[in-house]
């Protein structure tokens, strides 16, 4: 059967006769990789552009239209030692990129204006105490207005828009006092300039915008980096399917190019990427990603299969049904939507701070104005003092207090193997006091392990591993990996649904079902010991061996559970798997609380019960059946091996085999929350000092500028302390 790869879905035209494709590349870390890839790809004739983006871990390629097949680039990268997958920009990521460019442009404009207005302000400040002519001062003020007003109108857009959105929804956020402060400061300065006054606050207003934009840009960059990694993950998971394009011809196409009614081929060891019904073939399928159940399901003609199930033994032909028609998925999606709505009710620390902050500041300004009027000052002077209070309390440091810590902490977590999906996850994770684990794929590793390898002679085990290389069966793959076998045995024959056999040195060896190897009598010993394991037999002539294969616990699971207990965090297991399997895991890890055979709706119900008791639940899970409960929990984590839907729902995603990132993330976020609170107190403390000065009416623009930049720098420096979080975790 002829198999071709079709990437035309990902290729776009980039100008006259040039085609463009983006590839997500695994394992690009340094300048060396970058140079190697760019040179290797540029060496292909007719390639006009090969450029690596180290931040996003992607390669952009352009070539003369019609001369090259994109599959060739992937093969070339494979030769160079990198795995690459075509990458399609999601619209969400494109918006994010546009947004971050806009913010950077605003920051550029605001910084330019700040520097130039400062250049004009300093002569005024020194001139006010020496011999500057009033005409010269007015000239400088008018020039400042000329720069600051258009610059603020442009660079203030992100704040004005967000404040307007909040006000029209009849709520308030941090941007409301910012917008009011900036507008009043600019308006008052113009009036003062017309009246030939000594002080104008153009510099303070535009400097405030600059500092706040720094915070926004940092925040945006963090989100953009996370989204790029998440986008690559989606591409690396290679959502492709083998579609029949002719009676005997199949083509490997992206899932996006598959339509209902198409027929796809599902080979043993492949994960199904579509929903559909089996029309031909018999096999066993593993639906653990969808239901949590580790026992295989027999599939024959008419059996529905869902995206995410793994085909185990036979080849299946599947007719694709509409993506969302599967009742199971539809149910999960419905639960997910409800849970996500509940999630959005969480109020972020910054918003809580601003809800307190805005009324207090505005009331203080109002009281100042009235106070001065009652004390006998003119309306003009009283209003100028009131506006000065608003300027000096403008939440410059408050605006930086949280994004700077988030940026630093997410960098530290990134190094510990944890990716953040949402910015406020740090705050929520720091509050977690109860962890709910899923079992399959979360506490256990997603791939199978040979449990009794030590009981078998090394040379026999290696022979079994070499034989296993000839089979596609996942159990065989586990045996091959455990034995580190390198070279497959020549002439091995696979008998579908039975096993593999070969002849070595005149002796027949077999690997497969116990009946295939004539080892039924040995089976009961092993299954009595470990009811959860799958059993595979190996025979060499008349010698028979039994291998027990199962999903092993993550290597450090026990230590992580102990570390969580030491931190006074409650732990329980909620699994869709059968009771004996869950008991075994709970017992091995010393977790007293567990529930087995739980449906997605039951998981949510249990989490709601815990929530009602006032617990902040961290849900760690990977299966499709976990997605709704991940969304329902206060905060959630998924391993990188998780189903797509779960990964998109989880707040944090952790990489690699160990479970330690869970503890590392909790520690880092607790530290980060501590620093955030400290920053907020620093900002408030500064206000407590500065406000009396402002109320007394002696604030000059010089004092305002110095106080503003001083507090901002203090907060930024303090944020850097969130970096030093990597203590020994377990």
């Amino acid at each position: 059967m002829h198999v071709s790869r079709d990437f035309s879905h990902y290729v776009r035209t980039a100008g006259e006769g040039v085609q463009h494709i983006d590839l997500a590349v695994e394992g690009v870390h340094c300048a060396g990789c970058m140079a190697k890839i760019e040179r290797g790809l540029s060496a292909i004739p007719d390639v006009t552009l090969a450029r690596v983006n180290l931040t996003d871990r992607r390669v952009a390629l352009e070539w003369k239209a019609g001369t090259l097949d994109p599959a060739r680039f992937i093969d070339r990268l494979e030769e160079l030692g990198y795995k690459a997958y075509p990458y399609e920009t999601e619209s969400a990521e494109a918006t994010e990129v546009a947004e971050s460019r806009f913010l950077l442009r605003c920051l550029g404009v605001a910084a330019f204006a700040t520097m130039n207005v400062m250049m004009l302000s300093i002569p005024v400040w020194s001139g006010n105490v020496s011999d500057m002519l009033p005409e010269q001062r007015d000239f400088f003020h008018w020039l400042s207005a000329l720069i600051a007003l258009p610059a603020a109108a442009y660079a203030g857009q992100p704040f004005f828009r967000s404040a307007w959105r909040a006000l029209s929804a009849r709520t308030t956020n941090m941007d409301v006092p910012i917008s009011i402060g900036v507008c009043l400061a600019l308006g008052m300065s113009v009036v003062e300039t017309i009246n030939h006054a000594e002080h104008a606050y153009f510099d303070a207003a535009i400097m405030l915008l600059t500092f706040l934009l720094v915070g926004r840009v940092l925040d945006q960059n963090m989100r953009r980096r996370t989204r790029a990694v998440a986008g690559n993950l989606a591409a690396l998971k290679a959502e492709t399917a083998a579609k029949f394009v002719g009676p005997g011809e199949i083509s490997q196409v992206p899932v996006a190019a598959i339509h209902p009614g198409d027929i796809v081929l599902l080979r043993p060891g492949e994960r199904c990427a579509v929903d559909g019904t089996v029309i031909e073939g018999r096999s066993e399928i593993d639906q653990s990603l969808i239901t949590g159940e580790t026992l295989y399901v027999t599939a024959g003609q008419g059996t529905p299969v869902y995206a995410g199930s793994m085909n185990i033994s036979g080849t299946l032909r599947v007719r694709v049904s509409a993506a969302s028609e599967g009742t199971l998925l539809a149910e999960i999606t419905r639960l997910l939507d409800n849970a996500l709505q509940a999630r959005s009710r969480y109020m972020r620390l910054a918003d809580r701070a601003s809800r307190l902050y805005a009324p207090v500041v505005h009331a203080t300004a109002l009281v100042t104005i009235l106070g001065w009027v009652i004390a006998g000052a003119g309306w003009h002077d009283a209003i100028v003092t009131g506006v000065a209070v608003l300027i000096i309390t403008c939440p410059c440091a408050l605006g930086l207090a949280i994004p700077t810590v988030q940026t630093v902490a997410s960098g530290a977590m990134f190094k510990a193997g944890v990716l953040l999906n949402s910015g406020d996850a740090i705050e929520r994770l720091a509050e977690a006091d109860h962890v709910v684990f899923d079992k399959t794929g979360t506490l256990t590793l997603p791939d199978l392990e040979v449990m009794n390898a030590a009981d078998i002679a090394a040379d026999i085990f290696e022979l079994a591993g070499r034989l296993a290389l000839s089979s596609h069966h996942p159990v065989a793959a586990a045996v091959a990996q455990a034995s580190d076998a390198g070279s497959p045995i020549v002439g091995a024959v696979e008998e579908a649904g039975q096993g593999v056999r070969a002849v070595v040195d005149g002796i027949e060896i077999r690997l497969g079902r116990p009946s295939f190897c004539g080892a039924e009598t040995l089976v009961s010993d092993v299954t009595n010991l470990d009811p959860e394991a799958s059993v595979v037999a190996f025979s060499k002539g008349s010698e028979k061996f039994i291998l027990s294969v199962r999903q092993g616990l993550r290597p450090d699971a026990q230590a992580v559970i102990a570390a969580l207990k030491a931190r006074n965090i409650g732990i329980e297991i909620l699994s869709g798997d059968r009771e004996p399997a869950v008991i075994a895991a709970a017992h091995a890890l010393g977790i007293p609380e567990w529930r087995a055979g739980v449906t997605p709706a039951d998981k949510i119900a249990r989490i709601e019960v815990l929530k009602a008791r006032g617990m902040k639940v961290l849900m760690v899970g990977d299966g499709m059946n976990d997605a709704p409960s991940l969304a329902a929990a206060h905060v959630s984590m998924s391993p990188i091996s998780a189903a797509h839907l779960s990964q998109a729902t989880a707040d944090l995603v952790f990489l690699g085999r160990p479970l330690a990132p869970v503890v590392a993330a909790i520690d880092a976020s607790r530290k980060a929350l501590h620093v955030m609170r400290q920053n907020l107190w620093l900002a408030i403390g500064y206000n407590v000092l500065a406000v009396p000065v402002a109320i007394s009416g002696v604030v000059t623009p010089l004092i305002a500028a110095a106080a503003m930049s001083g507090s901002s720098i203090l907060v930024m420096l303090n944020s850097l302390r969130a970096r030093s979080a990597s203590r020994e975790i377990v």
Binding site: A31, A35, N53, T55, E62, Q136, L143
Partner: protein, 55 residues
Amino acid sequence: MEILVILVPLALMLGLAGLVAFLWSLRSGQYDDLDGAAWRAIADDEPPQEAPAKR
């Protein structure tokens, strides 16, 4: 003080030139890959190519 007539516009022009340069660098994608740019500066020069590929 007549010198201000020259110096102030001159200062503003310099500032504007900086802003224009920043906006140009942003538009030409120089901020898209900050990690990579840091390394490119110290990377070896590429060996001369036989066919100069321009786009």
